[in-house]
Amino acid sequence: MADLIMKDVAKAYGEVKVLSNINLDIKQGELIVFVGPSGCGKSTLLRMVAGLESITSGTLSIDGRVVNEVPPAQRGIAMVFQSYALYPHMTVRDNMAFALKIARKSQDEINAAVENAARILQLTPYLDRLPKALSGGQRQRVAIGRAIVRDPKVYLFDEPLSNLDAALRVATRIEIAQLKENMPDSTMIYVTHDQVEAMTLASRIVVLAGGGISQVGTPLDLYERPENEFVAQFIGSPAMNLLPGEIVETGPETVVRLSVGGLVRTAVPTRDSDKGLKVNVGARPEDMVPTEADEHLFEGTVGITEALGEVTLLYFDKKGEAAQVIAKLPGIHAGLRHKTLRLAADPKKIHLFSNGRSLLYR
């Protein structure tokens, strides 16, 4: 029902184009996460959905109705702001009731909705406090409660967790996930720059970069089959290693000679004409395994190691112009520092990019 469709949506401030060619089809019940580096326009896009920014061109429709000119309140959306944007002069109860009062709902209806939301968010004891008497997490819950109370078709979250500390962030993240679980029919759009949030919450992720959509897909899609170097590096932590090289063998499996010296085989199929093509070989740190074999992806001296308990991160000394290579080994590996290590990876987990785009998607 509550489908949200963006068609050729673009945004420009005068001459400056901020967003262009945004085409997106959001189904009811999805939790879509917009991610991207700061300045990529993800918040702007969200605000365009909310109706707080005008749409320069293209159409935005919710439930099959073009809403480009519809004021925010009538789009059936609710929004949770990064700074919570609680009304400082109203109690928690009044904050949550505000929208309903504006809509002239009956007092009983308002009370029921507010109390219901408060119960879901465990805010009942705080209903008569002013926002300044609440902690950051509580404020955030009030902001969410304010959205729930309105029972919107679409929830919009604008980096809702970025003002919270790490522990609270995780806890609130799970709360949001549960909230979604309890409201399977509601559509949510969630903006964040934190890819962990994106991966854990999203039913689909929209990666925005350079004023356009870089890739849309389920979290695992993006993880396993990034369309381009940007998505490949943006999703996953630490970012995917990219090593320049040249295709030396084509076919259903491709062999690439790396400029740093290694030779690597991947499951990516290539055409004959690709021989000699300059490519970037992508391998996620967690896919790298130490090897004694000749055929290796990379050989280098371990600079710094970070032992995180369940895994150990190895940062190899840089070689020439190439980017630093990082490997993530399961378990604890003490004493690898200053050792020279040879690494290989499962050919199925190796990506090939040419001119920034994955060869898989040609």
């Binding site: 605000r47 909310a50 109706g51 707080l52 004021p71 925010p72 309140a73 009538q74 959306i77 609710a78 929004m79 702001f81 990064q82 700074s83 919570y84 944007a85 609680l86 009304y87 400082p88 002069h89 505000f98 929208a99 504006i102 809509a103 002013l130 926002p131 300044k132 304010r146 309105r150």
Partner: protein, 405 residues
């Protein structure tokens, strides 16, 4: 805050001392006025107000009554009395303006023809002579008087005829002339800060420019306009509208009593004039404040379905309370202390005189009575001060409530 990190006592002392210095500098002139208002005109003109607390030595002249007041004591005719009316002590006296301190108290001065004058330290004097006295003799004396204060100046000002009326008139002028411009300015400031519309920045520019229009420039054009309106609205004085206008005080009867038009000199006119003159600054200050409100709060309200009108009344207005309160104080002070606008746009009849006008009146046609000026200045600032102290509490509270960001 500045003293964070231990070792703060010297800095704190410097801070307290400098505030004290500022406060003293800022209150000293007013304190002087206050003390002056408690002194008599003569005291004011001979000694500084800071000497009011010490006993003063001062030269004075008095005159004995004429011969009809004399009594006969033995073979001498005597006129007696006391030069001091309010206590004190005589330290010297004289009989001539050339030597006003010639004699010590108790000494006897020879005035010739057997007439003698003596003044005692307690001020009692005795003029005596062998024949009937003419009296009217001047006595020069130097008296040391203890500090004395009087409420006479205040009594004089407050008891002036029509002062209560003037007070009411001032309130009638000042309250709406404060509320109306704030209301109008708040709406305009909100639109200029948060509602996009074509020509907005031009309008802001014009308003900043209008800040500087001297109101003296507006007096004649506006009053002319008012008079024209009064003539244009003239209706039959005994009709329904005419009667209404008459009793509401809005109307002004024509000379022959048959027509009545809107009175060019009515409270409405003054309010609107004050509104017009106060608006640029009100809009300027309020817009500046409102622009600083967190944008997400307003957007949030918009998403919550509030119309612009609701956003304004339910969100922006309560959050702008500190700015509204401060401007209210300023505007009230201006309208309360204003004389020019009130005299031009209200008739100068006694019954519509405002406080400032009344106080000016008290000074007499030649002015210069400092004791009256001082007392009346204090009476006239009492109301604004009261307003300030009353609103200050809200001002601070409002500031704290508004600082959630």
């Amino acid at each position: 805050m500045l003293g964070l990190g231990g070792r703060k006592s010297p800095l704190v002392w410097v801070m307290h001392l400098s505030v004290l210095l500022l406060v003293v500098l800022w209150t000293l002139p007013t304190a002087g006025l206050f003390i002056t208002s408690l002194r008599t005109a003569d005291q004011i003109s001979v000694s500084g107000w800071w000497t009011a607390l010490s006993s003063a030595e001062r030269n004075a002249i008095t005159r004995t009554p004429d011969g009809s007041a004399e009594t006969q004591v033995g073979d001498r005719y005597v006129i007696a009395g006391n030069v001091l009316k309010n206590g004190g002590e005589v330290v010297a006296f004289g009989r001539s303006s050339l030597k006003p301190t010639q004699f010590k108290p108790g000494e006897v001065a020879d005035l010739g023809d057997g007439i003698t004058l003596s003044v005692k330290a307690d001020g009692s004097y005795e003029l005596s002579g062998p024949t009937k006295l003419e009296g009217g003799q001047r006595i020069f004396y130097t008296a040391r008087t203890p500090p004395a204060f009087t409420l006479g100046n205040y009594a004089h000002v407050l008891s002036a005829n029509g002062m209560l009326r003037a007070f009411m008139n001032s309130l009638t002028v000042a309250v709406p002339a404060t509320v109306i411009p704030i209301l109008i300015a708040a709406y305009a400031a909100f639109a200029l800060a948060w509602m996009p519309f074509p020509g907005r920045s031009l309008l802001i520019a014009i308003i900043v420019g209008l800040l500087v229009v001297p109101l003296q420039m507006s007096l004649i054009p506006i009053l002319t306009l008012y008079n024209d309106i009064g003539k244009a609205t003239a209706v039959d004085a005994h009709g329904v509208i005419g009667t209404l206008m008459h009793y509401s005080g809005l109307g002004q009867m024509s000379d022959d009593g048959t027509q009545i038009g809107l009175n060019p000199k009515s409270y409405l006119g003054v309010w609107l004039a004050h509104t017009g003159f106060g608006l640029p600054l009100a809009i300027f200050l309020l817009r500046n404040y409102m622009v600083g409100l967190p944008r997400e709060i307003i957007e949030s309200a918009r998403v919550d379905g509030a119309t612009d009108f609701q956003i304004f009344t339910r969100i922006v207005l309560p959050l702008s309370f500190p700015a509204l309160a401060s401007f209210a104080i300023f505007q009230f002070l201006w309208t309360w202390n204003d004389l020019l606008v009130a005299t031009v746009f209200l008739s100068h009849q006694q019954d519509s005189l405002v406080m400032t006008g009344k106080l000016k009146d008290l000074l007499g046609s030649h002015g210069g009575d400092w004791e009256i000026l001082a007392a009346s200045a204090f009476i006239s600032i009492s109301v604004p001060l009261l307003v300030f102290f009353a609103l200050q509490k809200y001002l601070v509270r409002g500031l704290l409530a508004g600082s959630v960001k």
